[in-house]
Symmetry: C2
Subunit: 828 residues, 2 copies
């Protein structure tokens, strides 16, 4: 148990290291040579010029202006100065809302901390539990840290002081919910406003349709075209089929890699013109025959280019390369909103429509997964996630045992003399297990991302959201619970299954106050120093300079070498949630932890605001669609805090308080449900009214807009972008008032089998009621019907391929229905 | 523990009583005087004539044809003869699908029983656990029933025989899921086919919109009209506002009651013309001044009629009597389907649209509940349901203590001598607590229905579905768990909280085999005899004859006196689920219970098929929308059976089996999710394709259809039906191509405040990008925006009250947008 001095020392060490990072950053960012590392966003926007174009040679690399070093902290006001609307415009709504999460942390915890310090600290400090314990029991060997004097542990059992904690739990819960509600409202408004004021984007007009049923007579493209022409007659505009271009994309990547190598060797050759650079044909150029590198790579690229062109043509010509999914565009946003929100056919597993993601947000590989497979994948991945979360220590432990001293000695015998030295041995033995764990934790987000990919989400944003959810669960179980109840998660699970449900909060509740000092240290190391390291960008700095030396030839190359990175949403957000959780849990138990959390939130807000403005370049814009997740996770934290307090108080024998405290999580859960109903649809659906307003305005202000040209190539697989081959089979005329000709009409005379059922349907719908005879017909029909599969059913339905003609509507329709009656007449 | 003889005796007694009921039914149904009690459905359909019109006087009341008595069981083949399609046509899809549940029970349990008898019975019987126990331990005082020899209890712990039970658990689970899947598919198809072949109904064209925001300038009716004209320009047709006519409805009921009394006294007077009947003015005519009854009631009815007319006028004239909800009809089913499935505005708590229920299915009182109140009500009702389920014995016990002998003696001292007799005393003491419980159980469904009403559902079908859910929970906790673990539910809950999660299935598992005989008796008493009582219809029989004597004067009166009743869905379905649960739980444990369940299902199928054909008259038709609930509850039963088996086997020390068995509920849950995705939307949404097909056909076959006349009065509160007062303000012309004139235009010049924000919005949307200056403007605006409430926002949006004009579309639009820019120009 730590004393206040211990904490102070730790705090100063961590503050110092954070400060060191900041100073390093302040110096490095002033050097023109690092300009593209610390301000890439401005380069990408084309606003910032290369600093090397003017000034002396030295000035190109090192900043000699002393005055600028004196104002080395001036990035702080600069980061804070940009107003929010400008920030949204500059960095996108996602980033602007993301940094609001830190602000939200401040809004929640500053008042809570003030109140807790004013009320709970005195109550705890004068509780005198430890004094009585030490004096009465003469337990000199147990020393209580000074921190613990400020915590609830210092309040004796059955004390009336505990009433203060219960009241505070209510106050904190209501305050948190109030702030969360307000924030949800603000973010919802920001999102809706952002969507409303957005410029025209192809995804506003487009719907992604998946699980297009296969049709023996028509290609996917024709089938999609006919289906939407019939079912959305006035609104359907055009569609783009999706090609399975995964192979091609691989080739393009490979070619890029080869080109990079070629450039590297060409540069090398330019620097030393007298010596042709060589490489080896083996793996990574490490072994094999030595050959001339430039010639080799030029040849390889040419070979790959030819293959790529062949593959490109194959993909476009092969009907099997078309996956049963398509992007369907509508004449107006209203039409797209309608199509995205409605069910198209009676079979809910085909013709599934949803809003199309932004073109750059589409995850192309997952567009073709059939319905049943998708469900199976989700089942398997749920099991895998469970295994990963609760058994993750098992493989780690195995790797750690394999990677111990003895086995290293066996595999690499020449290292034996070195290893056998005692100092080296102990170092490795202390170091290796840790590094294995560290590597696993670094790799974990990637594993989770792959799992999400297997689950079959079609947008990168959805993939990231799902990964974040998985990571959050992992951190909750392995970091929070894992720290509180020492032991692996699997052991915990066993323990929990054996304990009674009311004992679990007790177990956690008892050890919560004891872990306060650990978590304070954790906040300082992971939070304070970690955030400071974020601003320094050590890894991108190194990579940029390496690339600069080996690859960069032109200005364009330099632009490409610049890696602005992005907010790593699926990693940072779950980690951030841990701070909310800690703050909420300790707010009633050990309020002295709160200032550390507040410092973290304030500092992180500053740093990330700076990064968002100057560095990060988001890959897509989801218009803050992640907010419901953030909100939900904070509420999960709140409920955990309530349960732990419940457990803690029940060990303090304050049994009468249980009913009061049980009400809290119920109310919190209700609040969650309420917010979900109140706000979530703004993040999932697009209201018709807003769509109509935008449509109307656009039609009025830009009556000449060529929407077709705008939408035609919007959803093309990136590898086809800028390709020479014409892709979408564009309709000849922009005339949608016509009967859809289907190839099936030719089949009507021959095989009447599949239309029998639907024919019977109509006969009924025609409304002739002639008693028994009709009922019998109905009888036969339903008999058929039950044996029928839904799939056939839909196929039969499609025979109604007719649209309305505005002009001579009724005539055309009568004709059509005449046809239908022909096909359906077989029953009578 | 019962022997086979005990069970046989009990079975014969119950079979006999069931047979007696059946014989009574067979005799009573042949009497012409009872014809309207046992065949009301045919009278309602107008197919059956009154039998009293021909034949002698005696024949009018008693059937003297002996041959008919000989064939007294001929209702059985008659009930089975009607084919399903005819049944659907005759009784509706709800009834036809409901009796399929019994068939489903047979489909599931007959193969399971055969397999269990072939495999598990021999395995159990030769297990020999009891023999070893009795011989080794000399426990002669514990006698094991013969039934138990056939149960899993007879298999010794750690026996390899238990493997058979695990395999069978898998087989049974897969069989049940397979049958459930097939049945879900059939019912889905039946429903879709039923909807597709249905004749035109107003609810196909109509959407219920709730939470219409209030508007200072417009009435609810105008507001609804303008909103839908703008947002569904081509499809909106007309709307009907909803009046708060609860008071009026009460008056109408009261009047009917008075009229009944008047008829009663008039009849009395006719029979004894020499004496004017008298009544008393006090409560229920029991005390007060004696007056002439006919005059009194004639007067009262006249008075009430005047009041009613006044109230009727008040409701129609008073704008405050209009609730913020409306029924909005569309030109086509497609339009209604689109509107019902989409979100209208950015605020998801207003303009909520959903499919309108059938007119006779609407529950009018709940149409006006605001969003937040609705959520609060649900929270309170959830708490109340929890209390009712787990503490229901508390009030019962209190009533029982109050209603004991001593307190009766105190309240009614004149009974004292009687009570003090020993025999009477013991009879009352044994009888009263039972009757209190019985009364409570009879009242319970009504209480649950009232709770559902408070929760605010707007359709009677939804109310019944919710009540059924509540009743199911109640039966599960209090009948199933309550029998297995003796004690009140509250005690059980306490017990469970103290036990560890893995112990709970053990506790249940251990006592499951011991309760088999009890449940067999339960099935025979409640199932066999109960179903036989259902067909006898004792209560409707009595009521009909009473009414016939005192009230009936004309044929019409006799029609009204007939009470066909209906399938009491919220009561019978949850009770039925108990049999599925018992069958599934005991299929692996004590398979000897299965034949009793099978007899129940077969018998109930027969009886209910007869009732559905001849008796019940359903109040509404939901097109089998209850099926997802049935499906889910059977799966809940399946999962409970899996958990109990898990617990039972863990007490048998077959710990190795746990992983095998844990997989079962997970797979079952996944199956539930899969079915939900696969089928449920067919029960919640109406696909656009189907809507379009029906629309197209109708337009072709009935081009002259006057839809307006058809829809105009469809959704009028029943008390206004046939009223003299014109209700819906019908639009003058059927011309929807015009600009909507709102009263707000006059406000534009004066107060520009509320339009400021939206003005800024447009400016942005106009696409002028001039860097900083715009960003600043945006800054101000978002500042405003955050402080803005969504309510105002929507108000401001409405200012875009413009629709498209097909002819000179663009011009009109440009004009409109000109207006908008005027209003919005204040920002610059």
């Amino acid at each position: 148990m730590a004393t206040v001095t211990d904490i102070t020392v730790s705090a100063s060490i961590n503050s110092l290291s954070a400060l060191l990072f900041l100073v390093a950053f302040a110096i490095l960012r002033l050097q023109p040579i690092n300009d593209r590392v610390y301000f890439p966003k401005w380069y990408l926007k084309g606003i910032r010029e290369n600093p090397s174009t003017c000034g002396s040679y030295v000035k190109k690399f090192v900043n000699l202006d002393v005055r600028m070093y004196l104002r080395f902290l001036n990035w702080v006001p600069a980061a804070l100065r940009m107003p929010q609307p400008e920030l949204i415009d500059h960095a996108g709504l996602d980033s602007a809302v993301y940094i609001r999460i830190y602000l939200l942390g401040l809004k929640i915890f500053v008042p809570i901390a003030l109140l807790a310090f004013a009320v709970l600290l005195p109550v705890n400090y004068t509780g005198g539990n430890f004094q009585t314990m030490t004096t009465t029991m003469k337990m000199k060997d147990i020393t209580f840290g000074e921190i613990d004097k400020f915590s609830i542990s210092n309040v004796p059992p059955e004390s009336k002081r505990l009433f203060a904690h219960i009241v505070m739990a209510y106050v904190f819960t209501f305050w948190t919910c109030y702030i969360l509600y307000k924030e949800y409202k603000i973010v919802t408004d920001m999102r809706l406003h952002f969507l409303a004021s957005q410029i025209r984007r192809p995804d506003q007009f487009t719907v992604l349709v998946r699980n297009v049923p296969s049709d023996p007579d028509e290609s996917v493209s024709e089938h999609v075209d006919h289906f939407f022409r019939v079912n959305h007659p006035d609104q359907y505009f055009l569609h783009q089929v999706v090609y399975n271009a995964n192979n091609l994309a691989k080739m393009v990547d490979q070619k890029k890699d080869l080109q990079n190598r070629l450039i590297y060797y060409t540069n090398k050759h330019e620097r030393k013109p007298n010596k042709r650079p060589t490489t080896k044909t083996g793996f990574w150029g490490l072994w094999g025959k030595e050959i001339d590198a430039i010639d080799y790579y030029t040849e390889e690229i040419e070979k790959l280019s030819k293959e790529e062109i062949a593959e490109r043509e194959r993909v476009i010509d092969d009907p099997k390369a078309v996956v049963p999914a398509a992007f369907v565009s509508f004449r107006s946003r209203w039409g797209a909103a309608v199509c995205a929100q409605t069910q198209q056919t009676r079979n809910p597993t085909c013709w599934l429509t949803e809003w199309a993601p932004e073109p750059r947000d589409v995850y192309w590989n997952n567009l073709a997964i059939p319905f049943v497979e998708l469900n199976l994948r989700k089942l398997v991945m749920a099991a895998a996630l469970f295994g990963l979360t609760f058994c993750f220590m098992v493989p780690i432990a195995i790797v750690q045992t394999l990677a111990n001293i003895e086995s290293i000695g066996k595999v690499l015998p020449f290292l034996k003399p070195l290893i056998n030295k005692e100092s080296v041995k102990s170092f490795i033995q202390g170091f290796l297990p840790g590094i294995v764990l560290k590597i696993f934790l670094l790799v974990l987000p990637m594993i989770l991302m792959e799992m999400s990919k297997i689950e079959g989400y079609v947008a990168v944003s959805a993939l990231e959201a799902r990964s974040a959810g998985k990571y959050h669960l992992f951190l909750l179980v392995n970091v929070f619970l894992g720290t509180i109840i020492t032991g692996t998660a699997l052991q915990q699970l066993k323990e929990f299954l054996k304990q009674s449900p009311s004992e679990i909060p007790e177990t956690i509740g008892v050890s919560i106050p004891m872990k306060a000092t650990f978590f304070i240290t954790y906040i300082m190391v992971d939070g304070w120093a970690g955030v400071a390291a974020e601003i320094l960008r050590v890894v991108p700095l190194a990579i940029y300079h390496l690339k600069n030396i080996f690859l960069v030839k032109t200005e364009k190359d330099r632009d490409e070498a610049m890696d602005p990175g992005s907010l790593l949403w699926p990693i940072t957000e779950p980690r951030l949630q841990l701070y909310f959780l800690l703050g909420l849990v300790y707010s009633t138990v050990t309020p002295i932890l709160l200032p550390f959390i507040i410092v973290f939130f304030a500092f992180a807000y500053l740093v990330f605001r700076h990064q968002v403005i100057n560095v990060y370049n988001q890959k897509y814009e989801s218009a803050a669609s992640f907010w419901p997740d953030v909100h939900r996770r904070i509420l999960i934290g709140l409920m955990i805090s309530q349960f732990t307090l419940l457990g803690l108080l029940s060990t303090k024998k304050a049994a009468n308080s249980t009913p009061f405290l049980v009400a809290l999580p119920i109310l919190t859960f209700w609040f969650h449900r309420f917010c979900k109903k109140r706000f979530e649809s703004a993040f999932r659906k697009f209201p018709l009214q807003d769509a109509l307003i935008k449509d109307t305005l656009e039609r009025a202000t830009e009556p000449q807009l060529d929407l077709k040209a705008y939408l035609k190539d919007a959803y093309i697989h990136p590898v086809f972008k800028g390709g020479e081959v014409e892709l979408t089979p564009v309709d000849e005329e922009d005339d949608h008032h016509y009967l859809v000709a289907t190839k099936r009409t030719s089949r009507q005379a021959g095989t009447q089998e599949p239309s029998e059922h639907i024919g019977a349907n109509e006969e009924n719908a025609l409304g002739e009621e002639d008693g028994k005879s009709e009922e019998n017909a109905l009888g036969e029909e339903v008999g058929n019907y039950e044996a029928d599969t839904l799939g056939e059913d839909v196929g039969a339905n499609d025979e109604y391929a007719l649209t309305e003609d505005d002009g001579s509507k009724d005539d055309a329709l009568v004709e059509d229905v005449g046809n239908i009656e022909d096909t359906g007449g077989v029953v009578k």
